[in-house]
């Protein structure tokens, strides 16, 4: 059966304690296999095999047995090289893809502010849409995935607000300008299209757009990759600032040790679709246990 890399004990969040100890996301044994799949897929991939392509059925084991808890207000890092399954994991959580097996439990609030729990792997299309539109925010490495380049910066933010049911033009305008302030996009760019923005500004606009409906979970997929160091630093500062002010829970996916070191209280290290090591970020970076993590840390030094 599926190997569980479940965390043995709940790890306290590194960030200040949230109102509740219940996790906003509880993932258990998430597995995604592309292809027909066979009984030997899991044993023939990952670990010491050094591959994620099953030699028996040619299926790709993108993610296998991933379990973790994400607490309110926490930033969880997911680190790994390309092909490690970290982007697939984000796609599963953002309901862009469905797992082959495993569960992911979301705890949040409904429109009235009452507690609401949804099993993400079993929700219907309408629920998935509601969650993506009103409870989740996603920031992509490629701004063309996260922004509509046909409409203005304000229109990009407006789209999220309109999707979430906002009906007042003034309220949308106010919120758009305030979000631009917060993400350090100059107000006088509100009526410009993002095609004319710098790469860093496009990412900050993506963050503004993702935050528009006040999501309870923010997913950030390699958001600083490919940007200049100074631009990267500004965005990382911005993310920390947002986390401090809004207490939104975040999952930060990256291949960059520096990013998790700065942002994430806890980190999962992934390889060949498996979590090979997880725990408090500082601990992992200071005292890596898994040979792969050791190699990553030493090569970064």
């Amino acid at each position: 059966m599926i190997r569980m890399n479940e965390l043995s004990t709940p790890v306290p969040p590194a960030a200040p304690l949230a109102e509740t100890r219940l996790p906003i996301i509880a993932a258990r044994g998430l597995t995604r296999i592309h292809g027909p799949g066979c009984l030997r897929c899991l044993e023939s991939t990952g670990g010491t095999t050094g591959r994620n392509l099953c030699p028996h059925c040619r299926s790709v084991v993108a993610v296998a047995g991933v379990s973790f808890d994400l607490h309110p207000g926490e930033i969880l890092g997911v680190m790994g090289e390309s092909g490690s399954g970290k982007s697939t994991l984000v796609r599963l959580l953002h309901l862009d893809d469905r797992p082959t097996s495993g569960t992911a439990h979301w705890r949040g609030t409904d429109e009235g502010g009452h507690a609401l729990e949804v099993e993400l792997t079993a929700c219907d299309a309408a629920q998935a849409r509601w969650l993506r539109d009103r409870r989740f925010g996603m920031v992509y490495q490629n701004p063309h995935l996260g922004l509509n380049f046909q409409v203005t910066a304000g229109g990009n933010i407006a789209e999220r607000l309109l999707t979430a049911g906002e009906g007042s033009f003034r309220a949308i305008r106010d919120r758009a300008l305030s979000l631009l302030d917060r993400t350090e996009v100059p107000r006088n760019r509100v009526d410009h299209k993002p095609g004319h923005f710098s790469g860093g500004m496009q990412q900050r606009l993506q963050i503004a757009r993702a935050l528009a409906p006040r999501p309870q979970l923010l997913l950030l997929d390699e958001v600083t990759t490919g940007l200049d160091l100074s631009v990267q630093a500004r965005i990382l500062d911005l993310i920390l600032e947002i986390q401090r002010r809004t207490r939104v829970a975040m999952i930060v996916v990256t291949h960059d040790l520096g990013v998790v070191r700065l942002l994430a209280g806890r980190t999962l290290v992934m390889r060949h679709g498996r979590v090979v090591e997880s725990g408090i970020t500082d601990q992992i970076l200071e005292d890596p246990q898994h040979p792969y993590t050791q190699q990553l840390v030493s090569s970064a030094l």
Binding site: R58, F169, D174, S178, L179, L211, R214, R245, T246
Partner: protein, 386 residues
């Protein structure tokens, strides 16, 4: 009042029709005979029958005459007539192997079972004028067929010289290079059921065989020029007569009710990718078939068919792989009608446009007035919340 351009009413319509008729007749001469159109403008008749979705060469010839040779108008006449006809029966699927062939070529193999039959075709003719046709001698004209068929003419034409031949595809299938034919999907009568997307292949083929020849060719040409590089080979192109088999009303047995000239084309492409991922690579098939002798249309249709299948299997990467893009834009009757409708008066909507434009310009001329719509940026609280 001088503005009543559209308020012409009945008398204006009658006058327009009369003038159209005058245009046709004003130069004098003899009226052109429908039978002459049918036989001497055969490709035109074929095209109108194809786009009209109905094999009725006599009415097609009448349509061509009535429309002064406008193919879209002529096909439209035929379609409008067709839609008043009841659907009496549906035939069982016909087999291309039953086609009695007048011409068949394969660019895939030099030698094919049954042989290459060049038949009638202009492919290897130099496009130079035959000036003798300017003033053709009727006796010489009649001698053309008589010389060819001898004493058996009239009463015998090219159709009687034809016979069935095996298909090139069958040879490829026998070698396992092409997938075996799948059981046929039920035919879709697109005149009775609306097309919805994703569109089943029978509906796509039906839409294409009725498609406007130029429109279909343009779509196919995109696949040849790099918008989805197909690398096609014409496995077989054939023109001939297909016996139409109808169930006998009493016994239910299939009986030959007549024949229809059709052009049929099968193209194959390298790595069809029709098969499961673990199967060995094989050829992909594209199929085209249309009324009469219309080789370009049949080839174009086969290429579009292949392209649409690629899009359905692997996702749309090029315009001609998108079913909606291709099938919704190749119908001559619909596109011609909609294009023409812009000649209708639109002054209610245009008045609305002008009103809007004037209002908008007025507001933009006076920036102060626009603040009614907009929030004053200065008044936004520099709030702490996000």
């Amino acid at each position: 009042m001088g503005y009543v351009a559209i308020r012409g009413g009945e008398s204006a319509i009658a006058a327009a029709a009369r003038l159209l008729d005058v245009l046709r007749a004003q130069a004098g001469g003899d009226p052109i005979g429908v039978e002459t159109i049918r036989h001497q403008l055969g490709r035109l008749v074929d095209r109108v029958c194809g786009e009209g979705g109905c094999w009725h060469p006599q009415l097609a010839a009448l349509a061509i005459k009535q429309a002064s040779g406008d193919t879209l108008e002529a096909a439209f006449l035929l379609r409008a007539w067709r839609s008043t006809r009841p659907r009496l029966s549906a035939t069982a699927p016909h087999r291309g192997t039953d086609l009695r062939v007048v011409r068949r070529i394969s660019s895939a193999f030099k030698e094919i079972p049954g042989g290459q039959i060049l038949g009638p075709g202009s492919d290897y003719l130099q496009r130079l004028f035959s000036y003798e046709l300017l003033d053709e001698d009727p006796d010489k004209f009649r001698a053309i067929a008589k010389d060819f068929f001898g004493e058996e003419w009239p009463g015998r034409g090219t159709d009687s010289a034809s016979d069935t031949v095996p298909k090139v595809l069958d040879a490829l299938r026998a070698q396992g290079l092409l997938a075996q034919p799948r059981p046929p999907l039920p035919a879709v009568d697109i005149t009775r059921e609306p097309i919805t997307f994703p569109c089943p292949r029978p509906a796509a083929l039906a839409a294409m065989t009725r498609g406007e020849s130029g429109g279909l060719l343009a779509m196919a040409y995109t696949t040849m020029r790099g918008y989805g590089y197909l690398h096609p080979t014409v496995a077989e192109l054939r023109y001939g007569f297909l016996p139409i088999m109808l169930p006998h009303p009493v016994s239910g047995e299939l009986v030959e009710a007549g024949e229809v000239p059709v052009t049929e084309c099968e193209i194959v492409t390298l790595h069809g990718k029709d098969d499961p991922e673990d199967a060995p690579p094989s050829l992909g098939l594209g199929y085209g078939c249309c009324f009469g002798h219309q080789e370009t249309k049949a080839i174009a249709m086969a290429m579009c068919d292949r392209s649409l299948q690629n899009g359905a299997q692997h996702g749309v990467r090029h315009p001609a792989e998108d079913g909606e893009f291709v099938l919704m834009h190749i119908d001559g009757i619909e596109s011609m009608g909609f294009c023409s409708h812009y000649k209708l008066p639109h002054y209610v909507t245009f008045q609305s446009d002008l009103d809007n434009l004037r209002k908008s310009r007025g507001k933009l001329d006076h920036p102060g007035a626009a603040e009614a719509v907009f929030t004053d940026p200065e008044q936004i609280p520099d709030g702490d919340e996000l």
